[in-house]
Protein backbone atom coordinates (compact mmCIF):
# COMPACT_ATOMS: atom_id res chain seq x y z
CA UNK A 1 0.00 0.00 0.00
CA UNK A 2 2.65 2.65 0.89
CA UNK A 3 4.49 1.66 -2.26
CA UNK A 4 1.34 2.19 -4.26
CA UNK A 5 0.79 5.65 -2.73
CA UNK A 6 4.43 6.62 -3.17
CA UNK A 7 4.37 5.57 -6.80
CA UNK A 8 1.21 7.58 -7.46
CA UNK A 9 2.67 10.61 -5.69
CA UNK A 10 5.89 10.41 -7.67
CA UNK A 11 3.96 10.31 -10.93
CA UNK A 12 1.85 13.23 -9.76
CA UNK A 13 4.93 15.38 -9.10
CA UNK A 14 6.59 14.37 -12.35
CA UNK A 15 3.42 15.15 -14.27
CA UNK A 16 3.14 18.58 -12.64
CA UNK A 17 6.73 19.31 -13.62
CA UNK A 18 6.14 18.15 -17.19
CA UNK A 19 2.97 20.22 -17.35
CA UNK A 20 4.82 23.33 -16.21
CA UNK A 21 7.35 22.94 -19.00
CA UNK A 22 4.60 22.21 -21.54
CA UNK A 23 2.53 25.25 -20.66
CA UNK A 24 5.60 27.46 -20.51
CA UNK A 25 6.73 26.43 -23.99
CA UNK A 26 3.19 26.60 -25.35
CA UNK A 27 2.57 30.18 -24.35
CA UNK A 28 6.10 31.35 -25.19
CA UNK A 29 5.74 29.77 -28.59
CA UNK A 30 2.93 32.17 -29.43
CA UNK A 31 5.22 35.02 -30.39
CA UNK A 32 4.44 38.66 -29.88
CA UNK A 33 4.94 40.21 -26.48
CA UNK A 34 3.05 42.16 -23.88
CA UNK A 35 5.14 45.27 -24.47
CA UNK A 36 3.91 45.50 -28.06
CA UNK A 37 0.33 45.06 -26.88
CA UNK A 38 0.62 47.80 -24.26
CA UNK A 39 2.28 50.29 -26.54
CA UNK A 40 -0.21 49.80 -29.35
CA UNK A 41 0.12 49.84 -33.07
CA UNK A 42 2.01 53.08 -33.50
CA UNK A 43 4.89 52.23 -31.16
CA UNK A 44 8.46 52.09 -32.39
CA UNK A 45 10.55 48.95 -32.21
CA UNK A 46 12.96 50.58 -29.72
CA UNK A 47 10.16 51.48 -27.33
CA UNK A 48 8.86 47.92 -27.43
CA UNK A 49 12.27 46.42 -26.86
CA UNK A 50 12.97 48.80 -23.98
CA UNK A 51 9.72 47.93 -22.25
CA UNK A 52 10.22 44.21 -22.83
CA UNK A 53 13.67 44.54 -21.27
CA UNK A 54 12.17 46.33 -18.27
CA UNK A 55 9.86 43.36 -17.78
CA UNK A 56 12.74 40.92 -18.08
CA UNK A 57 11.30 39.35 -21.23
CA UNK A 58 14.59 39.64 -23.08
CA UNK A 59 16.32 37.12 -20.81
CA UNK A 60 17.04 33.59 -22.05
CA UNK A 61 13.97 31.36 -21.89
CA UNK A 62 15.39 28.89 -19.37
CA UNK A 63 16.25 31.74 -16.98
CA UNK A 64 12.69 32.98 -17.26
CA UNK A 65 11.37 29.48 -16.71
CA UNK A 66 13.40 28.88 -13.54
CA UNK A 67 12.55 32.34 -12.29
CA UNK A 68 8.85 31.60 -12.71
CA UNK A 69 8.90 28.05 -11.35
CA UNK A 70 11.09 29.13 -8.42
CA UNK A 71 8.57 31.76 -7.43
CA UNK A 72 5.74 29.31 -7.96
CA UNK A 73 7.35 26.84 -5.53
CA UNK A 74 7.45 29.59 -2.92
CA UNK A 75 3.75 30.21 -3.49
CA UNK A 76 4.30 33.39 -5.49
CA UNK A 77 2.24 33.26 -8.68
CA UNK A 78 3.73 36.47 -10.00
CA UNK A 79 2.11 39.69 -11.12
CA UNK A 80 0.48 41.07 -14.22
CA UNK A 81 2.88 43.10 -16.33
CA UNK A 82 0.23 45.57 -17.33
CA UNK A 83 -1.37 46.31 -13.98
CA UNK A 84 1.12 44.94 -11.46
CA UNK A 85 -1.75 43.10 -9.74
CA UNK A 86 -0.80 39.79 -8.08
CA UNK A 87 -2.08 36.80 -10.06
CA UNK A 88 -3.44 35.32 -6.83
CA UNK A 89 -5.82 38.29 -6.40
CA UNK A 90 -6.93 38.05 -10.02
CA UNK A 91 -7.65 34.34 -9.77
CA UNK A 92 -9.52 34.64 -6.47
CA UNK A 93 -11.75 37.44 -7.74
CA UNK A 94 -12.52 35.53 -10.96
CA UNK A 95 -13.25 32.31 -9.10
CA UNK A 96 -16.01 34.09 -7.19
CA UNK A 97 -17.84 34.05 -10.53
CA UNK A 98 -16.54 30.87 -12.16
CA UNK A 99 -17.18 28.54 -9.22
CA UNK A 100 -20.84 29.52 -8.66
CA UNK A 101 -21.40 29.47 -12.44
CA UNK A 102 -19.88 26.04 -12.97
CA UNK A 103 -21.26 24.39 -9.85
CA UNK A 104 -24.82 25.62 -10.35
CA UNK A 105 -24.63 24.90 -14.09
CA UNK A 106 -23.54 21.38 -13.33
CA UNK A 107 -26.24 20.93 -10.67
CA UNK A 108 -28.87 22.14 -13.12
CA UNK A 109 -27.42 19.81 -15.74
CA UNK A 110 -27.69 16.86 -13.34
CA UNK A 111 -31.19 17.85 -12.25
CA UNK A 112 -32.20 17.66 -15.91
CA UNK A 113 -30.10 14.68 -16.87
CA UNK A 114 -30.66 12.20 -14.04
CA UNK A 115 -34.47 11.97 -14.29
CA UNK A 116 -34.48 12.42 -18.06
CA UNK A 117 -31.70 9.92 -18.68
CA UNK A 118 -33.14 7.38 -16.25
CA UNK A 119 -36.63 7.71 -17.65
CA UNK A 120 -35.55 7.37 -21.23
CA UNK A 121 -33.38 4.35 -20.38
CA UNK A 122 -36.21 2.57 -18.59
CA UNK A 123 -38.83 3.57 -21.15
CA UNK A 124 -36.92 3.56 -24.40
CA UNK A 125 -39.88 1.98 -26.18
CA UNK A 126 -42.36 4.67 -25.11
CA UNK A 127 -42.82 7.85 -27.14
CA UNK A 128 -41.73 10.15 -24.30
CA UNK A 129 -38.55 8.15 -23.77
CA UNK A 130 -37.71 8.45 -27.44
CA UNK A 131 -38.52 12.15 -27.43
CA UNK A 132 -36.19 12.73 -24.49
CA UNK A 133 -33.42 10.78 -26.18
CA UNK A 134 -33.88 12.79 -29.34
CA UNK A 135 -34.12 16.14 -27.56
CA UNK A 136 -30.85 15.43 -25.83
CA UNK A 137 -29.33 14.66 -29.23
CA UNK A 138 -30.61 17.94 -30.64
CA UNK A 139 -29.44 19.78 -27.50
CA UNK A 140 -25.93 18.47 -28.02
CA UNK A 141 -25.96 19.60 -31.64
CA UNK A 142 -26.75 23.28 -31.01
CA UNK A 143 -23.71 25.61 -30.98
CA UNK A 144 -23.32 27.05 -27.48
CA UNK A 145 -23.13 30.68 -28.45
CA UNK A 146 -26.15 30.48 -30.73
CA UNK A 147 -28.29 29.10 -27.89
CA UNK A 148 -26.84 31.56 -25.38
CA UNK A 149 -27.48 34.63 -27.50
CA UNK A 150 -31.00 33.49 -28.36
CA UNK A 151 -31.76 33.01 -24.65
CA UNK A 152 -30.34 36.43 -23.88
CA UNK A 153 -32.49 37.98 -26.61
CA UNK A 154 -35.63 36.26 -25.43
CA UNK A 155 -35.37 36.75 -21.65
CA UNK A 156 -33.27 39.90 -21.65
CA UNK A 157 -34.42 42.02 -24.56
CA UNK A 158 -37.88 40.75 -25.46
CA UNK A 159 -39.29 39.81 -22.07
CA UNK A 160 -37.01 41.99 -19.94
CA UNK A 161 -37.01 39.50 -17.06
CA UNK A 162 -33.28 39.11 -16.64
CA UNK A 163 -30.14 41.04 -17.52
CA UNK A 164 -28.94 40.37 -21.09
CA UNK A 165 -25.44 40.10 -19.72
CA UNK A 166 -22.89 41.82 -17.53
CA UNK A 167 -21.84 41.24 -13.97
CA UNK A 168 -22.87 42.81 -10.66
CA UNK A 169 -20.34 41.91 -8.01
CA UNK A 170 -21.38 40.04 -4.86
CA UNK A 171 -20.35 42.89 -2.56
CA UNK A 172 -22.35 45.43 -4.56
CA UNK A 173 -25.60 43.50 -4.59
CA UNK A 174 -26.04 39.86 -3.72
CA UNK A 175 -29.29 39.54 -5.70
CA UNK A 176 -27.78 41.50 -8.54
CA UNK A 177 -25.00 38.92 -8.74
CA UNK A 178 -27.50 36.09 -8.62
CA UNK A 179 -29.58 37.71 -11.35
CA UNK A 180 -26.59 38.14 -13.61
CA UNK A 181 -25.79 34.45 -13.19
CA UNK A 182 -29.27 33.10 -13.98
CA UNK A 183 -29.13 33.08 -17.80
CA UNK A 184 -25.51 31.87 -18.00
CA UNK A 185 -26.34 29.06 -15.56
CA UNK A 186 -29.43 28.11 -17.56
CA UNK A 187 -27.43 28.04 -20.80
CA UNK A 188 -24.66 26.00 -19.24
CA UNK A 189 -27.15 23.72 -17.50
CA UNK A 190 -29.07 23.01 -20.70
CA UNK A 191 -25.92 22.16 -22.62
CA UNK A 192 -24.57 19.96 -19.85
CA UNK A 193 -28.04 18.52 -19.31
CA UNK A 194 -28.22 17.40 -22.93
CA UNK A 195 -24.88 15.64 -22.93
CA UNK A 196 -25.23 14.25 -19.41
CA UNK A 197 -28.66 12.83 -20.29
CA UNK A 198 -26.97 10.68 -22.88
CA UNK A 199 -24.34 9.67 -20.35
CA UNK A 200 -26.86 8.84 -17.62
CA UNK A 201 -29.01 6.95 -20.09
CA UNK A 202 -26.20 4.62 -21.12
CA UNK A 203 -24.99 4.30 -17.52
CA UNK A 204 -28.46 3.23 -16.42
CA UNK A 205 -28.83 0.82 -19.35
CA UNK A 206 -25.48 -0.62 -18.36
CA UNK A 207 -26.39 -1.01 -14.70
CA UNK A 208 -29.73 -2.59 -15.55
CA UNK A 209 -27.88 -5.39 -17.31
CA UNK A 210 -25.57 -6.12 -14.39
CA UNK A 211 -26.03 -9.39 -12.52
CA UNK A 212 -26.80 -7.74 -9.20
CA UNK A 213 -29.70 -5.82 -10.70
CA UNK A 214 -30.99 -8.93 -12.40
CA UNK A 215 -30.73 -10.73 -9.08
CA UNK A 216 -32.56 -7.92 -7.33
CA UNK A 217 -35.30 -8.01 -9.90
CA UNK A 218 -35.57 -11.76 -9.54
CA UNK A 219 -36.53 -11.11 -5.91
CA UNK A 220 -39.58 -9.25 -7.20
CA UNK A 221 -38.40 -5.63 -7.25
CA UNK A 222 -39.61 -3.36 -10.03
CA UNK A 223 -36.99 -2.01 -12.39
CA UNK A 224 -37.13 1.34 -10.63
CA UNK A 225 -36.75 -0.22 -7.19
CA UNK A 226 -33.86 -2.33 -8.33
CA UNK A 227 -32.21 0.68 -9.87
CA UNK A 228 -32.62 2.87 -6.82
CA UNK A 229 -31.71 0.29 -4.20
CA UNK A 230 -28.93 -1.60 -5.86
CA UNK A 231 -27.93 0.09 -9.08
CA UNK A 232 -27.37 3.65 -7.92
CA UNK A 233 -25.13 2.66 -5.05
CA UNK A 234 -22.86 0.84 -7.47
CA UNK A 235 -22.92 3.61 -10.05
CA UNK A 236 -22.27 6.41 -7.54
CA UNK A 237 -18.49 6.34 -7.48
CA UNK A 238 -17.94 6.51 -11.25
CA UNK A 239 -20.57 9.24 -11.52
CA UNK A 240 -18.93 11.23 -8.69
CA UNK A 241 -15.60 10.97 -10.48
CA UNK A 242 -17.06 12.25 -13.70
CA UNK A 243 -18.72 15.13 -11.86
CA UNK A 244 -15.53 16.11 -10.05
CA UNK A 245 -13.50 16.17 -13.24
CA UNK A 246 -16.26 17.98 -15.05
CA UNK A 247 -16.09 20.90 -12.57
CA UNK A 248 -12.36 21.24 -13.07
CA UNK A 249 -12.78 21.12 -16.81
CA UNK A 250 -15.61 23.63 -16.76
CA UNK A 251 -13.75 26.26 -14.76
CA UNK A 252 -11.33 26.72 -17.62
CA UNK A 253 -13.83 25.85 -20.33
CA UNK A 254 -16.81 28.16 -20.06
CA UNK A 255 -15.18 30.87 -22.11
CA UNK A 256 -17.95 31.05 -24.70
CA UNK A 257 -20.73 31.45 -22.15
CA UNK A 258 -18.67 34.04 -20.29
CA UNK A 259 -18.15 35.95 -23.53
CA UNK A 260 -21.80 35.79 -24.59
CA UNK A 261 -22.93 37.11 -21.21
CA UNK A 262 -19.96 39.44 -20.60
CA UNK A 263 -19.03 37.72 -17.34
CA UNK A 264 -15.49 38.33 -16.05
CA UNK A 265 -14.88 34.68 -15.16
CA UNK A 266 -11.63 32.78 -14.99
CA UNK A 267 -11.61 31.36 -18.50
CA UNK A 268 -12.26 34.74 -20.06
CA UNK A 269 -9.44 36.14 -17.99
CA UNK A 270 -7.16 33.48 -19.44
CA UNK A 271 -8.39 34.24 -22.96
CA UNK A 272 -7.77 37.99 -22.60
CA UNK A 273 -4.36 37.39 -21.12
CA UNK A 274 -3.31 35.05 -23.90
CA UNK A 275 -4.35 37.71 -26.40
CA UNK A 276 -2.33 40.30 -24.47
CA UNK A 277 0.63 37.91 -24.05
CA UNK A 278 0.53 38.28 -20.28
CA UNK A 279 2.71 35.19 -20.09
CA UNK A 280 3.10 35.04 -16.31
CA UNK A 281 -0.62 35.39 -15.66
CA UNK A 282 -1.45 32.68 -18.20
CA UNK A 283 1.27 30.28 -17.07
CA UNK A 284 0.39 30.58 -13.39
CA UNK A 285 -3.38 30.41 -13.85
CA UNK A 286 -3.26 27.44 -16.19
CA UNK A 287 -0.79 25.75 -13.85
CA UNK A 288 -3.25 26.15 -10.98
CA UNK A 289 -5.99 24.51 -13.05
CA UNK A 290 -3.68 21.69 -14.11
CA UNK A 291 -2.55 21.01 -10.54
CA UNK A 292 -6.16 21.00 -9.39
CA UNK A 293 -7.24 18.53 -12.08
CA UNK A 294 -4.27 16.25 -11.47
CA UNK A 295 -4.86 16.41 -7.75
CA UNK A 296 -8.45 15.22 -8.20
CA UNK A 297 -7.15 12.46 -10.46
CA UNK A 298 -4.64 11.48 -7.78
CA UNK A 299 -7.28 11.38 -5.05
CA UNK A 300 -9.58 9.30 -7.24
CA UNK A 301 -6.75 6.90 -8.05
CA UNK A 302 -5.87 6.54 -4.39
CA UNK A 303 -9.51 6.06 -3.41
CA UNK A 304 -9.97 3.34 -6.00
CA UNK A 305 -6.78 1.76 -4.72
CA UNK A 306 -8.07 1.79 -1.16
CA UNK A 307 -11.57 0.63 -2.03
CA UNK A 308 -10.64 -1.97 -4.59
CA UNK A 309 -7.48 -3.96 -3.89
CA UNK A 310 -7.55 -5.41 -7.41
CA UNK A 311 -6.63 -2.02 -8.86
CA UNK A 312 -3.58 -1.67 -6.66
CA UNK A 313 -2.30 -5.14 -7.45
CA UNK A 314 -3.20 -5.23 -11.10
CA UNK A 315 -0.38 -5.60 -13.52
Amino acid sequence: MPVYIARKLAFFLLAVLAASIAIFLLIRGAGGNVAAVILGKDATAEAINALAQQYGLDRPLFVQYFDWIGNLLQGDLGRSFRTNEPVTDLVVSRLSISIPLCVSGLILGLVIAIPAGTYSALNSDKPLGAVIALLSQVGIAVPVFWAGILLSLLFGVRLGWLPTGGWTNWDVSFWGAVRSLVLPVISLGLILGASLTRYVRSAVLDVMNQDYVRTARATGMTRMQALLQVGLRNAALPIATVVGLQIAELIGGTVIIETVFSLPGLSRMILANVAAREVIVVQSTVMLIIIFVMFINLIVDLLYGVLDPRVRLAR
Binding site: F11, L14, A15, A18, A19, A22, I23, L26, I27, G29, A30, G31, G32, L122, N123, S124, D125, A130, Q137, V138, I140, A141, V142, P143, V144, F145, W146, I149, L150, L153, Y199, S202, A203, L205, D206, N209, R217, A218, T222, R223, A248, E249, G252, G253, V255, I256, T259, S267, I270, L271, V274, A275, V286, I289, I290, F292, V293, M294, N297, R315
Partner: protein
Protein backbone atom coordinates in the same frame (compact mmCIF):
# COMPACT_ATOMS: atom_id res chain seq x y z
CA UNK B 1 -43.67 0.10 -15.93
CA UNK B 2 -44.10 -3.64 -16.41
CA UNK B 3 -43.39 -6.17 -13.73
CA UNK B 4 -42.25 -8.81 -16.17
CA UNK B 5 -38.77 -9.92 -15.10
CA UNK B 6 -37.76 -10.91 -18.58
CA UNK B 7 -38.09 -8.89 -21.72
CA UNK B 8 -41.07 -9.64 -23.91
CA UNK B 9 -40.09 -10.96 -27.34
CA UNK B 10 -41.44 -7.82 -28.99
CA UNK B 11 -38.97 -5.56 -27.29
CA UNK B 12 -35.65 -6.50 -28.82
CA UNK B 13 -37.28 -6.36 -32.18
CA UNK B 14 -38.58 -2.89 -31.55
CA UNK B 15 -35.31 -1.74 -30.17
CA UNK B 16 -33.47 -3.18 -33.11
CA UNK B 17 -35.83 -1.44 -35.48
CA UNK B 18 -35.24 1.83 -33.71
CA UNK B 19 -31.52 1.31 -33.79
CA UNK B 20 -31.77 0.70 -37.49
CA UNK B 21 -33.78 3.86 -37.87
CA UNK B 22 -31.22 5.85 -35.89
CA UNK B 23 -28.52 4.47 -38.09
CA UNK B 24 -30.51 5.14 -41.24
CA UNK B 25 -31.19 8.77 -40.38
CA UNK B 26 -27.54 9.15 -39.44
CA UNK B 27 -26.36 7.65 -42.71
CA UNK B 28 -28.78 9.71 -44.81
CA UNK B 29 -27.71 12.99 -43.21
CA UNK B 30 -24.03 12.13 -43.33
CA UNK B 31 -24.15 11.05 -46.95
CA UNK B 32 -26.07 14.18 -47.93
CA UNK B 33 -23.51 16.25 -46.05
CA UNK B 34 -20.55 14.60 -47.76
CA UNK B 35 -22.30 14.83 -51.13
CA UNK B 36 -22.84 18.55 -50.62
CA UNK B 37 -19.18 19.01 -49.73
CA UNK B 38 -18.05 17.04 -52.77
CA UNK B 39 -20.47 18.80 -55.09
CA UNK B 40 -18.92 22.10 -54.08
CA UNK B 41 -15.74 21.06 -55.91
CA UNK B 42 -17.61 20.70 -59.19
CA UNK B 43 -20.36 23.23 -59.09
CA UNK B 44 -21.09 26.41 -57.18
CA UNK B 45 -23.89 28.81 -58.12
CA UNK B 46 -21.60 31.76 -57.35
CA UNK B 47 -18.07 32.54 -56.18
CA UNK B 48 -18.73 32.38 -52.42
CA UNK B 49 -16.08 34.97 -51.52
CA UNK B 50 -16.61 37.58 -54.19
CA UNK B 51 -18.55 40.53 -52.81
CA UNK B 52 -21.43 41.88 -54.92
CA UNK B 53 -22.37 44.92 -52.90
CA UNK B 54 -25.46 45.92 -54.93
CA UNK B 55 -26.97 42.48 -54.21
CA UNK B 56 -26.41 42.59 -50.46
CA UNK B 57 -28.84 41.12 -47.92
CA UNK B 58 -31.30 39.69 -50.44
CA UNK B 59 -33.93 37.43 -48.86
CA UNK B 60 -34.14 33.70 -49.58
CA UNK B 61 -35.71 32.91 -52.92
CA UNK B 62 -34.41 35.97 -54.71
CA UNK B 63 -33.70 35.34 -58.38
CA UNK B 64 -30.33 33.65 -58.72
CA UNK B 65 -29.84 33.30 -54.98
CA UNK B 66 -31.61 30.27 -53.52
CA UNK B 67 -31.07 31.25 -49.88
CA UNK B 68 -30.39 34.94 -50.42
CA UNK B 69 -27.17 36.84 -49.83
CA UNK B 70 -25.15 38.08 -46.87
CA UNK B 71 -24.01 41.58 -45.90
CA UNK B 72 -21.50 41.73 -48.76
CA UNK B 73 -23.85 40.27 -51.36
CA UNK B 74 -22.20 36.85 -51.30
CA UNK B 75 -24.46 33.93 -52.12
CA UNK B 76 -25.45 32.06 -48.96
CA UNK B 77 -26.12 28.73 -50.64
CA UNK B 78 -22.68 28.70 -52.27
CA UNK B 79 -21.15 29.54 -48.92
CA UNK B 80 -23.06 26.72 -47.26
CA UNK B 81 -21.72 24.30 -49.90
CA UNK B 82 -18.14 25.41 -49.40
CA UNK B 83 -18.79 25.49 -45.66
CA UNK B 84 -19.74 21.81 -45.80
CA UNK B 85 -16.35 21.13 -47.37
CA UNK B 86 -14.53 23.04 -44.61
CA UNK B 87 -16.59 21.48 -41.85
CA UNK B 88 -15.88 18.07 -43.34
CA UNK B 89 -12.18 18.84 -43.58
CA UNK B 90 -11.90 20.42 -40.13
CA UNK B 91 -14.13 17.97 -38.27
CA UNK B 92 -12.85 14.84 -39.98
CA UNK B 93 -9.25 16.14 -40.05
CA UNK B 94 -9.22 16.90 -36.35
CA UNK B 95 -10.84 13.58 -35.50
CA UNK B 96 -8.51 11.67 -37.83
CA UNK B 97 -5.30 13.09 -36.39
CA UNK B 98 -6.61 12.40 -32.89
CA UNK B 99 -7.56 8.90 -33.96
CA UNK B 100 -4.08 8.12 -35.30
CA UNK B 101 -2.18 9.57 -32.35
CA UNK B 102 -4.74 8.31 -29.85
CA UNK B 103 -4.58 4.78 -31.26
CA UNK B 104 -0.80 4.66 -31.17
CA UNK B 105 -0.71 6.10 -27.65
CA UNK B 106 -3.64 4.04 -26.38
CA UNK B 107 -2.30 0.75 -27.71
CA UNK B 108 1.19 1.51 -26.38
CA UNK B 109 -0.23 2.33 -22.96
CA UNK B 110 -2.10 -0.95 -22.93
CA UNK B 111 0.74 -3.11 -24.16
CA UNK B 112 4.08 -1.78 -23.03
CA UNK B 113 3.84 -2.04 -19.28
CA UNK B 114 3.27 0.09 -16.28
CA UNK B 115 5.78 2.88 -17.00
CA UNK B 116 4.46 3.47 -20.49
CA UNK B 117 0.91 3.36 -19.21
CA UNK B 118 1.49 5.85 -16.39
CA UNK B 119 3.44 8.20 -18.66
CA UNK B 120 0.84 8.17 -21.43
CA UNK B 121 -2.11 8.38 -19.05
CA UNK B 122 -0.62 11.29 -17.10
CA UNK B 123 0.28 12.97 -20.39
CA UNK B 124 -3.35 12.67 -21.45
CA UNK B 125 -4.39 14.12 -18.08
CA UNK B 126 -2.11 17.12 -18.61
CA UNK B 127 -3.47 17.71 -22.08
CA UNK B 128 -7.02 17.42 -20.84
CA UNK B 129 -6.44 19.91 -18.06
CA UNK B 130 -4.96 22.67 -20.23
CA UNK B 131 -8.06 24.67 -21.18
CA UNK B 132 -8.67 23.89 -24.83
CA UNK B 133 -9.21 27.52 -25.77
CA UNK B 134 -5.70 28.39 -24.57
CA UNK B 135 -4.26 25.86 -26.98
CA UNK B 136 -6.44 27.15 -29.80
CA UNK B 137 -5.51 30.76 -29.13
CA UNK B 138 -1.83 30.03 -28.89
CA UNK B 139 -1.96 28.08 -32.15
CA UNK B 140 -3.92 30.87 -33.81
CA UNK B 141 -1.32 33.32 -32.58
CA UNK B 142 1.62 31.19 -33.69
CA UNK B 143 0.58 30.13 -37.15
CA UNK B 144 -2.32 32.47 -37.77
CA UNK B 145 -5.96 31.48 -37.59
CA UNK B 146 -7.37 29.31 -40.33
CA UNK B 147 -8.51 25.81 -41.20
CA UNK B 148 -5.15 24.18 -40.46
CA UNK B 149 -4.90 25.87 -37.05
CA UNK B 150 -8.39 24.73 -36.23
CA UNK B 151 -7.58 21.14 -37.19
CA UNK B 152 -4.47 21.19 -35.01
CA UNK B 153 -6.37 22.74 -32.12
CA UNK B 154 -9.11 20.11 -32.40
CA UNK B 155 -6.49 17.35 -32.45
CA UNK B 156 -5.02 18.76 -29.26
CA UNK B 157 -8.45 18.77 -27.59
CA UNK B 158 -9.48 15.32 -28.75
CA UNK B 159 -6.32 13.21 -28.68
CA UNK B 160 -6.37 12.59 -24.91
CA UNK B 161 -9.97 11.35 -25.04
CA UNK B 162 -9.15 9.00 -27.92
CA UNK B 163 -6.12 7.79 -26.02
CA UNK B 164 -8.15 7.00 -22.91
CA UNK B 165 -10.95 5.22 -24.73
CA UNK B 166 -8.67 3.15 -26.95
CA UNK B 167 -6.42 2.33 -24.01
CA UNK B 168 -9.27 0.94 -21.97
CA UNK B 169 -10.72 -0.97 -24.92
CA UNK B 170 -7.29 -2.41 -25.69
CA UNK B 171 -6.74 -3.35 -22.04
CA UNK B 172 -9.89 -5.46 -22.02
CA UNK B 173 -8.91 -7.13 -25.31
CA UNK B 174 -5.46 -7.85 -23.90
CA UNK B 175 -7.08 -9.99 -21.20
CA UNK B 176 -8.78 -12.26 -23.72
CA UNK B 177 -7.56 -15.81 -24.10
CA UNK B 178 -6.46 -15.53 -27.70
CA UNK B 179 -3.95 -12.84 -26.73
CA UNK B 180 -2.53 -15.09 -24.04
CA UNK B 181 -2.31 -17.77 -26.66
CA UNK B 182 -0.50 -15.48 -29.07
CA UNK B 183 1.93 -14.56 -26.32
CA UNK B 184 2.61 -18.23 -25.74
CA UNK B 185 3.61 -18.51 -29.37
CA UNK B 186 6.20 -15.79 -28.66
CA UNK B 187 4.69 -13.35 -31.10
CA UNK B 188 6.28 -9.88 -30.79
CA UNK B 189 4.12 -7.27 -29.01
CA UNK B 190 3.75 -5.08 -32.10
CA UNK B 191 2.53 -8.07 -34.06
CA UNK B 192 -0.06 -8.92 -31.43
CA UNK B 193 -1.18 -5.30 -31.37
CA UNK B 194 -1.58 -5.10 -35.14
CA UNK B 195 -2.90 -8.57 -35.79
CA UNK B 196 -5.14 -9.14 -32.78
CA UNK B 197 -5.80 -6.03 -30.74
CA UNK B 198 -6.31 -3.45 -33.47
CA UNK B 199 -9.07 -5.32 -35.33
CA UNK B 200 -10.84 -5.82 -32.02
CA UNK B 201 -10.80 -2.16 -31.08
CA UNK B 202 -11.66 -0.99 -34.60
CA UNK B 203 -15.34 -0.70 -33.70
CA UNK B 204 -14.55 1.59 -30.80
CA UNK B 205 -12.27 3.61 -33.07
CA UNK B 206 -14.91 4.12 -35.74
CA UNK B 207 -17.57 5.13 -33.23
CA UNK B 208 -15.23 7.48 -31.42
CA UNK B 209 -14.21 9.01 -34.76
CA UNK B 210 -17.80 9.70 -35.77
CA UNK B 211 -18.75 11.29 -32.47
CA UNK B 212 -15.68 13.53 -32.37
CA UNK B 213 -16.17 14.46 -36.00
CA UNK B 214 -19.46 15.98 -34.83
CA UNK B 215 -17.84 17.57 -31.79
CA UNK B 216 -15.21 19.07 -34.07
CA UNK B 217 -17.81 20.90 -36.14
CA UNK B 218 -19.34 22.32 -32.95
CA UNK B 219 -16.01 23.31 -31.46
CA UNK B 220 -15.03 25.05 -34.66
CA UNK B 221 -18.20 27.14 -34.40
CA UNK B 222 -17.19 28.15 -30.87
CA UNK B 223 -13.68 29.04 -31.99
CA UNK B 224 -15.15 31.17 -34.77
CA UNK B 225 -17.20 33.09 -32.22
CA UNK B 226 -14.00 33.84 -30.29
CA UNK B 227 -12.33 35.01 -33.49
CA UNK B 228 -9.82 32.15 -33.75
CA UNK B 229 -11.67 29.79 -36.05
CA UNK B 230 -11.53 29.47 -39.81
CA UNK B 231 -10.90 32.67 -41.75
CA UNK B 232 -11.70 33.62 -45.33
CA UNK B 233 -11.03 32.62 -48.07
CA UNK B 234 -12.00 29.37 -46.29
CA UNK B 235 -15.61 29.35 -45.20
CA UNK B 236 -17.11 27.40 -42.34
CA UNK B 237 -20.62 27.27 -40.99
CA UNK B 238 -19.40 28.47 -37.61
CA UNK B 239 -17.80 31.47 -39.27
CA UNK B 240 -21.01 32.25 -41.16
CA UNK B 241 -23.01 32.04 -37.93
CA UNK B 242 -20.58 34.38 -36.20
CA UNK B 243 -20.54 36.82 -39.12
CA UNK B 244 -24.33 36.95 -39.00
CA UNK B 245 -24.24 37.71 -35.27
CA UNK B 246 -21.68 40.46 -35.76
CA UNK B 247 -23.34 42.02 -38.78
CA UNK B 248 -27.09 41.76 -38.36
CA UNK B 249 -27.73 39.98 -35.07
CA UNK B 250 -28.15 36.29 -34.62
CA UNK B 251 -31.95 36.23 -34.73
CA UNK B 252 -31.91 37.11 -38.43
CA UNK B 253 -32.49 34.51 -41.16
CA UNK B 254 -28.85 35.01 -42.12
CA UNK B 255 -27.89 33.10 -38.97
CA UNK B 256 -30.62 30.52 -39.41
CA UNK B 257 -29.08 28.72 -42.40
CA UNK B 258 -25.61 27.97 -41.05
CA UNK B 259 -27.09 27.34 -37.60
CA UNK B 260 -29.54 24.76 -38.93
CA UNK B 261 -26.82 23.23 -41.07
CA UNK B 262 -24.64 22.72 -38.00
CA UNK B 263 -27.48 21.28 -35.91
CA UNK B 264 -28.61 18.85 -38.61
CA UNK B 265 -25.15 17.57 -39.50
CA UNK B 266 -23.98 17.25 -35.91
CA UNK B 267 -27.21 15.46 -35.07
CA UNK B 268 -26.76 13.19 -38.08
CA UNK B 269 -23.19 12.31 -37.18
CA UNK B 270 -24.12 11.62 -33.57
CA UNK B 271 -26.99 9.38 -34.65
CA UNK B 272 -24.62 7.61 -37.02
CA UNK B 273 -22.09 7.17 -34.22
CA UNK B 274 -24.70 5.78 -31.83
CA UNK B 275 -26.12 3.53 -34.52
CA UNK B 276 -22.69 2.22 -35.44
CA UNK B 277 -21.96 1.57 -31.79
CA UNK B 278 -25.02 -0.64 -31.56
CA UNK B 279 -24.07 -2.54 -34.69
CA UNK B 280 -20.34 -2.86 -34.19
CA UNK B 281 -20.20 -3.46 -30.49
CA UNK B 282 -23.42 -4.50 -28.80
CA UNK B 283 -21.62 -4.71 -25.47
CA UNK B 284 -20.37 -1.16 -25.79
CA UNK B 285 -23.82 0.07 -26.69
CA UNK B 286 -24.84 0.07 -23.12
CA UNK B 287 -21.72 1.81 -21.88
CA UNK B 288 -20.97 5.49 -22.38
Amino acid sequence: MTLAPTATPAKPKRRRRRRNLTLTIGIVITVAFIAMAMASFFYLPHNPNLPRIPDRLLPAGSPGYLLGTDALGRDIFSQLMVGARTSLMVGAGGALISLVIGTIAGLSAAAFGRMADETISRGADIMLSIPGMVTALVLAATIGSGALTTILALSAFFTPSFTRVIRSAALSVMQEDFITAARLYDRPTWFILLRHVLPNVAGVMIVQFTLYFAAGILTEAGLSYLGVGVTRPSISWGMMLNEAQQQVGISSPLAMWPGLAIVIVVLGLNLLGDGLRDVLDPKLARRA
